[in-house]
Symmetry: C2
Subunit: 351 residues, 2 copies
């Protein structure tokens, strides 16, 4: 049932990102999930019904296959878009580009994800960095997982006057767990062919002032990305000052090696034990005890759940585009509360 | 047969490093491999005979087990040491510490590897950096694989006046191929708990002037380490100047993504196709086309075969301690020629 003044949200594409977006929309007090659209007819298409989500056929040619599988269709993509205030596109790269034309033709607000170029919407979004500039826009792009983490962390340093230049090495998971039977890499390391890798320039699409250069390498595991950073600060600072800067972001969660969180699989297991849907880690999980300050230099590492980190940003982007909430901080607080963001963090460190 | 004036070399420990050292000693015109000592009695103990190497029991208590396995023993460790000018210790960490006492008692020159502390010998060795300071010493430590690669590359930049400060992220292979059934890590990443990791300070045991800080993470593969570096140069330089600096080292081999060498497994396959024993990559394999210069900053990545990179250094250390060759460059050239070091490198780049 749709409440009065609620934001009516459609999710197009019920894959790795789409299903997490749908779950997250469903628990926001000010949003209604109108339905989800997809093209598959196998077990994945049966999942929305188990959560009470209406299923739409994203492509008319797939309707009969989905119905033959015994699934109830609420309609086609046109029906879904007609009923919604905004659509979150979570389809694969090439499909998304076509969808954008459809959304524009129908005059519906839309959000795309980091697979698309900045130019597709002319605006790239990370809630803590530029929520206000998205207010009332027709569309925005929630940047990729890696870029989101870079903007969250470097923006936090910047707001505290601790950011000079940042140089990062990104260890990228080879493929998602769900797709690891379809091909990944095994027992090797595959460097990105070019330095800088694309994530640094992509972060500058959100904040052009960031002095950031990234290098990236694909590693044979499926759980998450891991970033190592070497930052020059404009002045000498203490470790406490740096930790305070990171703690000022509600989406950076400090974790500790000494707390048994000595590897990325342990952090994922904690997410499962917290009962989060799909074990999602929405935060940048940054190791407090590993972080090192040497004069005006800062070194740290953090983990990025590539499937989950953009979910809270997407929720905030919905409120910004629909102008349901003019204040970024207020939207972030509501999203965080609904998703439990930061609940496990050691952000009141015993230091 | 032992030639006149030949250096008589004993290898204690016929494991991952020891067997490669033995192969390398055997092909040096100025060295004779007296024999190898070990404690195992399984298939590994049958390998020396296939190469014509005499086998000694490294521990008297293991003699009967080795003989029961049908293997010919040339004697015990004492016999081996008595016949040698120098012993290369390739035993595991704790055993090596005990062995050092034995070597000292017997007054035989010895070389330990990077598992031991600098203080064990008071000298840490990388041929291109400090061959001459090892001349005539009783002992030296050939530093670890990662440290060897760091000293080779940063020394090369330093000799060309291009080294300011160097900050590196090291992706460490989880375990050796031969031991991967005994336990490694799977589908995760395990950060070293502390920043800086030990390799930076270890490089300073060879050259205290190096301004180097390292971070390290264990990755789920067995082939090799991979390093990513971000270097501040004392001045702006061109990419050509940097490549020239690296090319001046005969033990840094430039490779290219564009040549099909897009991952560490491809480089290992090339070593196999070159017919190198155990597919050994003795060089630092540094990607020429990935390397990037931005003003006074330099970014690059290279591969380190942890089982092989120290082998040529060990050969040179033998000549230095025994004073068989007073000139480091001459020793390096002889070692390189015997092992084929650099034979595959794109060190005359088409740039």
């Amino acid at each position: 049932m749709t409440g009065k003044g609620q934001i009516k949200v459609a999710v197009n594409g019920y894959g790795v990102i789409g299903k997490r977006v749908a779950d997250a929309v469903a628990v926001q007090a000010d949003m209604d999930l109108i339905g989800v659209a997809d093209v598959v007819a196998d077990w994945r298409a049966r999942m929305p019904a188990t959560k009470g989500f209406a299923l739409y056929a994203a492509d008319p040619e797939r309707e009969s296959a989905i119905q033959k599988a015994g699934l109830n269709l609420a309609g086609g993509l046109d029906d879904l878009l007609a009923a919604a205030d905004i659509v979150i596109d979570c389809t694969p790269k090439k499909i998304a580009a076509q969808n954008v034309e459809t959304y524009r033709d129908k005059g519906i607000r839309f959000i795309v994800h980091g697979g698309e170029k900045h130019s597709v919407t002319g605006h790239s979004f990370v809630a803590e960095a530029n929520y206000e500039t998205a207010l009332g826009r027709d569309s925005t792009r929630v940047v990729s997982c890696n870029t989101t983490s870079i903007v969250r962390t470097l923006s936090a340093l910047k707001r505290s006057g601790l950011l000079g230049s940042a140089r990062g090495t990104l260890l990228r998971r080879a493929t998602d767990p769900w797709e690891s039977h379809l091909g990944g890499i095994m027992n090797t390391l595959v460097p990105e062919p070019e330095i800088p890798s694309h994530q640094g320039p992509d972060a500058q699409s959100v904040d052009p002032d960031l002095d950031v250069i990234t290098m990236a390498v694909k590693v044979p595991q499926t759980l998450a990305h891991l970033h190592y950073w070497s930052v020059r600060m404009p002045r000498k600072a203490s470790k406490d000052e740096v930790l305070d800067a990171f703690c000022a972001s509600s989406r950076i969660a400090l974790i500790r090696m000494s707390d048994g969180l000595g590897a990325i699989n342990a952090v994922k297991e904690m997410m499962a034990d917290l009962g989060r849907p799909n074990d999602s880690l929405y935060e940048v999980a940054l190791w407090e005890d590993m972080l090192r300050v040497e004069g005006d230099e800062l070194f740290y590492a953090y983990m990025v759940d590539n499937q989950a980190i953009v979910i809270p940003e997407t929720i905030d982007a919905i409120r910004a585009l629909t102008q349901a909430e003019p204040d970024g901080a207020a939207s972030i607080a509501r999203t965080n509360a609904a998703l439990g963001v930061g609940a496990f963090a050691a952000n009141t460190p015993t230091r």
